[in-house]
Amino acid sequence: MSSTNSNGEARQERLLEIKDLTVGFPTRDGVVLGVDGLTLNVGSHERLGVVGESGSGKSVMGLAILGMVLPPGRIMGGSVKWRGENVLDETVANRVRGREIAMIFQDPMVSLNPLKTVGAQLRELLRRRAGLEGAKIRQRSLELLEMVGIANPQDRLKSYAFELSGGMRQRVMIATALACEPTLLIADEPTTGLDVTIQDQILTLLHDLSTELGVSVLMITHDLGVVAQFCDRVQVMYAGRIVERAPIAEMFADPQHPYSLGLLQSVPRVDRDESELSGIPGEPLDRAQFPPGCAFEPRCGESHDVCRQSAPPLVKIAERRWVACYNRPGDQS
């Protein structure tokens, strides 16, 4: 196993490099692109957020990083490299999945096998994927459950998912993800559907674990609050593309893309009056009717002719800041 050779020093080691990734879903009206030419990097010890509405392709992206697409979808182009190796190659993917990159999903009620006990699910992972044997399996199972803050781990090993509370299930889910000591954790809406207090606990747990274990996290969410609380850096996704990329503080202080601005304005704050809450005008895009230009143009308040003709490229506007909008001319240097 080579996952432990990156120490604190290699602060900026690039783990994951996604380039021009395109995932298509054939429908009766032609191919709908779930992810459209996506480029994204994740470094070691990093907490990166990907934020977007439902239908923006962020979940498709999460699975595609593991080389997985739900049928009838298909990866149509681009590359996904994990430490320089091509994850879209099935043999590499088989090695990396679960061991070096692990994913946790929204709604742990249905993401845990309903007919297997917690113990059985951990056991099969530890035996078949982590290569543990005998008494070590039970020992490590208990250790994992303790690590994610589950009381009475011995009893919980015998529980079925439906016997656990929502927060507990997500903790178990995190335990199964950490079973093989991965280097990157992809968290797809890990707090959606949980109570606000539980959401907070889960986020804190993920934050602490990522620091303690040195695990990078790619947080996929529609919730800017989650991003603000959790991430170092954020990418805003719209219609399968990245429209803005920025460090977390700068994104909240000075959003550049009109869509990011809209997202921020729709987050209610305690220090603001409720009536000021202004959503984004217009409906989320119907993906089957892709306009040739900027996908956000129909909902944008400041669009020009050029926006309808071609999609704006993602350009650098300042150090660590990128945006895809014709209204924000890039730093051409």
Partner: protein, 317 residues
């Protein structure tokens, strides 16, 4: 923490479920879908071919009389196994032409099955609509009857009725329809229930009388497409049942002919006249296959509409 506007594109498609589809666009959809489905085309070709043969059979030229016996020609093998083109599929134990008898048998076999399915569909759907519409005790009664019917399938009813009244074609039609009505009842009832709930909000804004009209206007198009799909599915079962009853001697009696009866009569000659049983069974199998392909295609057409919603929801997450 508040969610960004979270209505996926799938939400729209789901809301349109109860709306009456426009006739022309449905037909256009069906046609364009059919062009892509080899199974659908094969099913339609097979079904129309058999239907045509059943209708025009007696007027076909060059065919011998199906009941004309000719003992010197008995058990002539088909072409390719030593037979001649005068009897392309050979002859039976009485020297009758197999092809002519197959075509003659198609009439009875298909007529009985189609009639049985129509009776079952009309009665079953009516009961289902009544059960769903009125509800209460009548609903309980009809549904219990359907449950009991499930435990008492057609062949058992057939055995007891034939034992009591003697074999007849009418009995076979009745037996097949009473073993399939409850399928239609359940679907009809289920449709009324879904529409009652999905249209509840919409209808409650209207006056009582027009809400009932709304209901029917939404119900009928849904009903028609479900009924067609289901009838085709049940037709395959009905043809198989008819052939089994004819084989057991419960249905049409000699000298009239049906495919099942040909197998019953040919079974004593499987050593020196294998073709009688083989071709009669092949006729049943091919027509049932055609109906099954048609039904598979109709179902996949419905499924694709559903699947597309799933696809559109998927990229969201």
């Amino acid at each position: 923490m508040t969610a960004v506007q979270d209505a996926g594109p799938g939400a729209d498609a789901g809301g349109a479920e109860g709306a009456p589809p426009e006739g022309t666009s449905v037909m256009a959809d069906l046609r364009s879908h059919l062009r892509k489905s080899k199974a659908g085309i094969a099913g339609i070709i097979i079904c129309s071919l058999f239907a045509l043969v059943a209708v025009v059979g007696p007027w076909l030229p060059f065919l011998p009389d199906p009941s004309k016996q000719s003992l010197p020609d008995k058990l002539t093998p088909p072409v390719g196994w030593g037979g001649t083109w005068s009897h392309p599929l050979g002859t039976d134990q009485l020297g009758r032409d197999i092809l002519a008898r197959l075509i003659d048998g198609a009439r009875i076999s298909l007529l009985v099955s189609v009639a049985a399915v129509i009776i079952a569909a009309v009665l079953g759907t009516a009961l289902g609509l009544i059960a769903g519409y009125i509800g209460g005790r009548i609903d309980t009664l009809i549904i219990s009857a359907a449950d009991v019917q499930m435990a008492f399938p057609g062949v058992l009813a057939g055995l007891i009725l034939v034992a009591a009244f003697g074999p007849s074609v009418w009995l076979v039609i009745i037996v097949i329809s009473i073993s399939s009505w409850m399928v239609f009842t359940r679907v009809g009832r289920g449709l009324v229930f879904t529409l009652k709930t999905t249209l509840f909000v919409e209808a409650s804004e209207l006056s009582g009388a027009s809400s009932r009209r709304v209901m029917w206007r939404h119900l009928l198009p849904n009903l028609v497409s479900s009924l067609i799909t289901l009838s085709v599915l049940e037709l395959a079962a009905a043809i198989l049942s008819e052939s089994a009853f004819a084989f057991l001697g419960f249905g049409v009696q000699p000298p009239r002919s049906s495919w099942g009866l040909m197998i019953q009569q040919g079974r004593n000659y499987i050593t020196d006249g294998w073709w009688i049983v083989t071709f009669a069974g092949l006729a049943i199998s091919v027509v049932v296959l055609g109906v099954n392909l048609l039904s598979l295609w109709l179902q996949s057409f419905n499924d694709v509409a559903e699947r597309e919603q799933i696809i559109l929801e998927r990229p969201g997450g």
